[in-house]
């Protein structure tokens, strides 16, 4: 159970007709390092970069045209902006008030969302960022240094063992390891099988279960994947509602309602409050916000 036709047929059953897309490169302004974020835009435009504001993101811009690598400018190296895919900029913005909070970024490397969280927190409170791969942790640390992040501590720790830290959190970002999607990987259909999807879905449930144990009673979880496969998205959230006593909170962001009927199975109706993002202006993505019942 793999291959291009197999997955495209699944998407058709979910109500989406597959089409190839060309992703636009996106950047996010690190506003905390600037008195006026528009200064960074003006500087980049003077360099010859053509930028278009992303209508549904406060600090996001699409790169329309660049005569040079966007990751090789003084402004990038000075931390004035980060390169971050459009949909990947959404999850961190879904938390209510972040300033002064204690935040867990459970699968943090390479750090795009961690630096975004720190930016939204104005470097206040504390972020605890976890990952397991040493090379990816080094990349995360480099991002933190480049963006002048002050409020983050990084641990080499599997998210499933987060209770070892003996802390509870106001906000938890679960941007979990996932199967990805074809929009960001041209070999995706060749590489992926349904077994991969099921394996990832099981790991994601373990991470969700571990996260709930360290979430404060009035805390919030934002769960996201860049997978289009319902096993990693709606099915997992339906499972979390039934087994971890969580509820889905409605979010207002780019994307379509989450699915409540998948391959003949009826899921909890509140799953429509999740957001499913089929590839178009962004890569494929899924995001939802959860609280304890």
């Amino acid at each position: 159970m793999s291959g291009r036709e197999f997955f495209i047929n699944r998407y058709r059953k979910l109500g989406w007709e597959h089409r190839e897309i060309e992703l636009k490169q996106a950047i996010r302004i690190n506003s905390v390092n600037l008195t006026n974020p528009l200064d960074a835009i003006k500087r980049l435009q003077r360099l010859g970069l053509s930028l278009v504001k992303i209508p549904f993101l406060e600090n996001g811009y699409w790169v329309n045209e660049a005569k040079f690598s966007v990751g090789a400018t003084a402004e990038y190296l000075l931390g004035l902006y980060s390169i971050q895919e459009t949909a990947a900029q959404i999850p961190a913005t879904l938390f209510t008030e972040l300033r002064e909070k204690t935040v867990l970024d459970a699968c943090a490397a390479p750090g795009g969302k961690t630096t975004q969280l720190a930016d939204l927190m104005h470097n206040t409170g504390a972020i605890i960022a976890l990952d397991i791969d040493r090379r990816r942790l080094t990349a995360l640390s480099n991002q933190l240094e480049r963006c002048h992040i002050k409020n983050t501590v990084v641990y080499r720790l599997d998210a499933r063992r987060v209770s070892k830290l003996e802390r509870s959190f106001d906000r938890i970002l679960l941007d979990v390891p996932c199967s990805g999607n074809f929009a960001t990987d041209e070999n995706w259909f060749r590489r992926r099988t349904i077994r991969d999807v099921e394996r990832n879905a099981a790991l994601q449930r373990e991470i969700l279960a571990a996260a709930v144990k360290v979430l404060k009673d009035d805390g919030e979880i934002v769960y996201s994947t860049c997978s289009l496969e319902p096993e990693e998205d709606e099915f997992n959230i339906d499972w979390a509602m039934r087994n971890l006593d969580l509820k889905v909170i409605k979010v207002d962001c780019y994307g379509q309602e989450g699915l409540t009927g998948v391959f003949g199975k009826h899921l909890d109706s509140s799953l429509k409050n999740c957001r499913r993002i089929w590839p178009a202006q962004t890569q494929g993505f899924f995001v939802c916000k959860l609280e304890k019942r």
Binding site: L78, L137, N151, V154
Partner: protein, 156 residues
């Protein structure tokens, strides 16, 4: 614990007043915590707060945020033009013609911060000529620049 950091800042003719209670050493690396991070009583971390620098080859080598703090304290430095900014970030030494402003004595052998036209710190170097006597040619040897963020990511 703070002595190597203070000594390093002195090389640039500036004094840094960092809260010693918020500085932690992990292996050979120094980090400055916020009071919030300090409350978490960190142990066995990989990275924390602001990276100040590390002890390397028996000497202290600064992180870019430490240089940034020193720039805010008006440490000895030079401002360079846009073209020189990019060459410096690419690891090149600085020619006299690219320097638009000098803060401090600018004598041969001095350590200087290198700033762009916006006053942002790009790294540091050491002067190899007295800057007031020189009209052209290489003036400052590049020791460390923010292009390092790109070089670090390259596979070895």
């Amino acid at each position: 614990m703070i002595k190597p950091i203070r000594d390093f800042a002195t090389l640039f003719g500036t004094k840094l007043s960092l809260p010693e209670s918020l500085i932690v050493k992990k292996g050979n690396r120094f980090f400055l915590l916020t009071t919030e991070l300090k409350k978490l009583a960190l142990k066995d971390f990989f990275y924390a707060g602001t990276f100040l620098g590390e002890v390397k080859n028996g000497g202290f080598f600064p992180g870019f945020d430490l240089l940034r703090m020193m720039a805010e304290q008006k440490a000895n430095g030079v401002v360079v033009d846009k073209k020189t900014e990019w060459l410096f970030i690419c690891g090149r030494d600085i020619f006299r013609q690219g320097i638009t402003e000098v803060t401090g004595p600018g004598r041969k052998g001095d350590y200087v911060l290198v700033l762009n036209q916006h006053g942002e710190c790009l790294g540091f170097g050491q002067t190899i000529r007295d800057l007031d006597k020189q009209k052209e040619g290489v003036s400052i040897e590049n020791i460390s620049d923010i292009g390092d963020f790109l070089r670090r990511e390259k596979p070895t």
